[in-house]
């Protein structure tokens, strides 16, 4: 322990926690998203919080930083009980959250951003001189090379992240919460940021570090708290855990019977082959193929580039492909329409923003994509459209009170089934489903799993992108893991386990290797 106090008997004692949370819970209506989290954060330590997507990390941070109010439990600072009605109160008490997304006004200067809403003034005019001076001091503290008068929009992403941290440090802070601070940074920028965090620690600041990059946690943290499914698993001194153990603690769960039995791996030729796909000007690249009768899972942490890769394949983002072969013939033009005609459809993860017209009825939604295949004429065919609606409602079990309902009025599960029915109108041979069951209940989930199973058993192929590990592991015959815009691992057969996926998705691998040799 770096800043250990000594008690009367001369034993080292952990220092008094700056922030102590006791049995913290949060529920939204009947749904509990976080229960019974007890932890303390000490001055001069980096305390890492790790967990899968949806484990409750961000909820915990919101509670600690006043962005949300707990529905149970207490907090205390330096032994005194505290409660925050909003983020401003938490900041006044010395706790600040640095968001994962960059929340800065791009057209203002660094200094203007830092002092936004609390500008210093002198005789009714803003005192730029004083603000620029203070800004320069704080920027130096985080090791930023930006100038106070630089316009934020002109700074590279890493520098903006530092400006955001600098803003958090403008007033004296006791606790800084960093939410995935490295999610958008390149490797060398990450190293620089880690140094800054170490620097803050040396200055006696308590840093709460949320990340799913396990090698960062291993390199940086003094203590590690693991969350899983909204519950606290425990807190360990960082030196007692390696990356593999962390991954196991994050997952530690058994497969349920929700999933259909796995299919026999086939030896037939792949139906879809994607070679050297490059998306967003090379930021994300990958090659993959999928066979008839196979569910290919694509795993990885949020932000690994999975959705972007597929959107690039569909021509929805700037992309270039070395070659795409579908059903044995080459596809030269890759856009949604051409690929649909060749037998490939994509079901987006964002069903409300990109999948369904929420103000329109079932018919307009169902036929929007495959309109030209259902009906080659210019004129709409209402009769056929009504028949399509009736058939889809039956076949996909879309539960509706009346057929004239708007898509936005359906429950999440029914919306997902409607979206599935929509892309299936083109009668594809390969279906790519992005987050097939996000935000829907267990009953609809198992229906969708069974549907995917039926699909591949009739000789079609399915690619599933999922951030839910049990789902990915339970459904897939083969799993590709993505990390930092590249495929880093391929898992087959009994190697498809949650631990292996998390390990590949979150660790760099080489760090642990080096550690073992050392």
């Amino acid at each position: 322990m770096k800043l250990a106090a000594t008690d009367a008997a001369g034993r080292t004692m952990p220092p008094e926690p700056v922030l102590h949370a006791e049995a913290l819970s949060k529920a939204y209506g009947p749904i509990t998203v976080l229960s019974d989290v007890t932890l303390d954060i000490r001055a001069g330590e980096v305390h890492a919080i790790i967990g899968e997507n949806g484990a409750g990390k961000s909820t915990l941070m919101k509670l600690l930083s006043g962005h949300a109010e707990p529905t149970g439990g207490t907090m205390a600072m330096a032994g005194q009980p505290v409660a925050f009605a909003d983020a401003v109160q938490a900041e006044d008490a010395g706790i600040v959250l640095v968001h994962q997304e960059i929340l800065l006004a791009p057209d203002l200067t660094v200094a203007q951003n830092l002092f936004l809403g609390r500008e210093l003034s002198r005789f009714f005019a803003v005192d730029d001189k004083r603000m620029n001076r203070r800004t320069a001091e704080v920027l130096a503290r985080v090791g930023s090379t930006a100038r106070p008068w630089t316009v934020v929009g002109e700074l590279p992403l890493a520098q903006r992240q530092l400006v955001q941290i600098a803003r958090a440090l403008l007033d004296d802070r006791k606790v800084i919460i960093l939410d995935e601070p490295t999610a958008m940074l390149a490797n060398d920028e990450v190293d620089a940021l880690l140094d800054i965090v170490r620097n803050l620690r040396a200055q006696g600041v308590a840093v709460l570090y949320i990340s799913h990059r396990l090698e960062e946690v291993e390199a940086l943290a003094d203590r590690v708290t693991v969350l899983r499914d909204g519950k606290m698993i425990g807190t360990w001194p960082a030196e007692t855990l390696d990356q593999r153990q962390m991954a196991e603690l994050m997952v530690g769960r058994e497969l349920s019977m929700l999933y259909p039995p796995k299919r026999d791996p086939t030896t037939v030729e792949p139906v879809l082959v994607v070679e050297d796909l490059s998306v967003d000007h090379g930021k994300i690249t990958g090659s993959f193929s999928v066979r008839p009768g196979e569910v290919l899972g694509i795993g990885g942490m949020i932000g690994a580039g999975r959705t972007e890769l597929i959107e690039g394949l569909m021509g929805l983002r700037p992309s270039q492909a070395g070659a795409i072969r579908l059903g044995g013939s080459a596809v030269t033009k890759h856009d949604v329409t051409a690929l649909m005609a060749a037998g490939l459809v994509y079901l987006t993860e964002d069903r409300k923003g990109k999948g369904l017209l929420l103000n329109e009825g079932l018919g307009p939604n169902l036929i929007l994509q495959a309109m030209d295949m259902i009906n080659p004429r210019l004129r709409l065919d209402r009769k056929k459209e009504n028949a399509v609606v009736k058939a889809a409602v039956q076949e996909y079990d879309i539960r509706v009170r009346t057929l004239s309902i708007e898509a936005g009025q359906l429950s999440g599960g029914n919306q997902q089934k409607l979206l599935l029915a929509k892309v299936m109108q083109a009668d594809p041979s390969v279906v790519i489903i992005d987050e097939p069951t996000r935000g829907i209940d267990i009953g609809n989930k198992s229906q969708i799993y069974r549907f995917i199973d039926d699909l591949v058993r009739t000789g079609k192929a399915c690619v599933v992108i999922s951030s839910e590990l049990p789902e990915l592991v339970g459904l897939s015959d083969r799993v590709l893991v993505m990390r930092g815009g590249r495929f880093v691992a391929e898992l087959t057969g009994n190697d498809i386990t949650e631990q292996n996926v998390v390990y590949a998705a979150a660790s760099s691998g080489k760090d642990t290797e080096g550690r073992k040799r050392a």
Binding site: E360, M371, S404
Partner: protein
């Protein structure tokens, strides 16, 4: 899969009353009722036909504007474009008159339709290919068209050749069984517009693009093409209005169609088409154009309010219509 819970009784779409969609027609009825109470001449066949005929221009252009707004676009250039098309058409007819005689009129009309559609195509391509806000692009072309007509008329007026006047006059002043030509043309354009918007795949894509362009893109709809086509339809409708306009005054001037864009957009919006796109009502637009013209007429016939305030009342109406919409839609 259980089908027991599915209501298989489909509710017929056509017979469901949506009060929000009927609002412009109800408003029109109320204003006509008020007009009758204020002045007995208001309901005379003569006055009514006059009002309806005069609303034809706004209604015809408004059909095109309904398409543009339904895709989430906006066209400020329509008034200037009308003047420009009128100018080109008059010049074409005058040039053709010596050699083709009365045939110069239909040929000139075709020229107008082509030029109008091309003007719309230009707006659409600059917006979709150049990826610039429709507001800015059409603000620019509004200035360009207005300057061109001023240049073409040399600041004065550009009159149609004397030899064509009598042959062309009926297009505005003539009638079939008592129904003036402009009314027939408006009906035809509105029917055509309603057919395209409600009965064709293109119309379906228009509302899809307007209600959520991302959903449309992810569904393989060529969003740019749909938007561009809406501007072409707008240009075509402007040309149709121009064809009806020329026989009325017989000339193009630098002030032809000035501020019409505001009247047209007002008519479309009070007709129930959402300015952010997605919901489009062709017949609502026609009702909106009638409302504007009827109000102006009632004000002229009554002596209570100065007719100089017509624009103020029309301006107030669009705001009131939007407020009413806000309160009815939030339930």
């Amino acid at each position: 899969m259980s089908s027991a819970e599915i209501a298989t009784r489909p509710e017929s779409e056509g017979f469901k009353i949506r009060w929000g969609d009927l609002a412009p027609f109800i408003a029109l009825g109320v204003i006509i009722l008020l007009g009758t109470m204020i002045n007995s001449n208001f309901m005379s066949a003569n006055n009514m036909l006059n009002v309806i005929t005069r609303s034809a221009f706004i209604a015809i252009i408004g059909v095109g504007t309904t398409f543009v707004i339904a895709t989430g676009g906006l066209d400020l250039s329509i008034g200037s474009m009308l003047a420009f098309v009128v100018g080109i058409m008059v010049m074409a007819m005058n040039a053709l008159a010596p050699s083709f005689g009365p045939w110069a009129i239909p040929i000139g009309a075709v020229v107008a339709l082509v030029v109008g559609s091309l003007c719309g195509l230009m707006n659409g391509l600059i917006i979709t290919v150049g990826r610039i806000e429709p507001f800015i692009v059409t603000l620019g072309t509004m200035g360009i068209f207005r300057a061109l007509i001023t240049y073409m008329t040399d600041g004065g007026s550009l009159s149609i050749d004397r030899s064509l006047r009598n042959a062309y006059r009926p297009v505005y002043f003539g009638d079939v069984l008592g129904v003036p030509y402009p009314v027939i043309i408006t009906l035809f354009i509105a029917l055509l517009g309603a057919f395209i918007l409600y009965r064709t795949k293109y119309g379906r894509r228009v509302t899809a693009v307007g209600s959520n362009a991302d959903v449309a893109r992810f569904s393989g709809v060529h969003v740019g093409r749909v938007r561009t086509m809406a501007f072409v339809i707008q240009g075509f409708c402007v040309a149709v209005a121009a064809i009806c306009y020329v026989p009325r005054l017989g000339a193009a001037t630098p002030t032809t169609g000035q501020l019409w864009e505001l009247q047209v957009i007002t008519a479309v919006v009070i007709g129930g088409t959402l300015l952010r796109g997605g919901k489009a009502h062709i017949w609502g637009t026609v009702a909106g154009a009638l409302i504007l013209e009827v109000i102006a007429n009632v004000m002229v016939l009554s002596d209570m309010v100065s007719e100089y305030l017509v624009a103020a009342v029309q301006g107030a109406i669009i705001i009131i219509a939007m407020l009413a919409h806000r309160f009815t839609s939030s339930r």
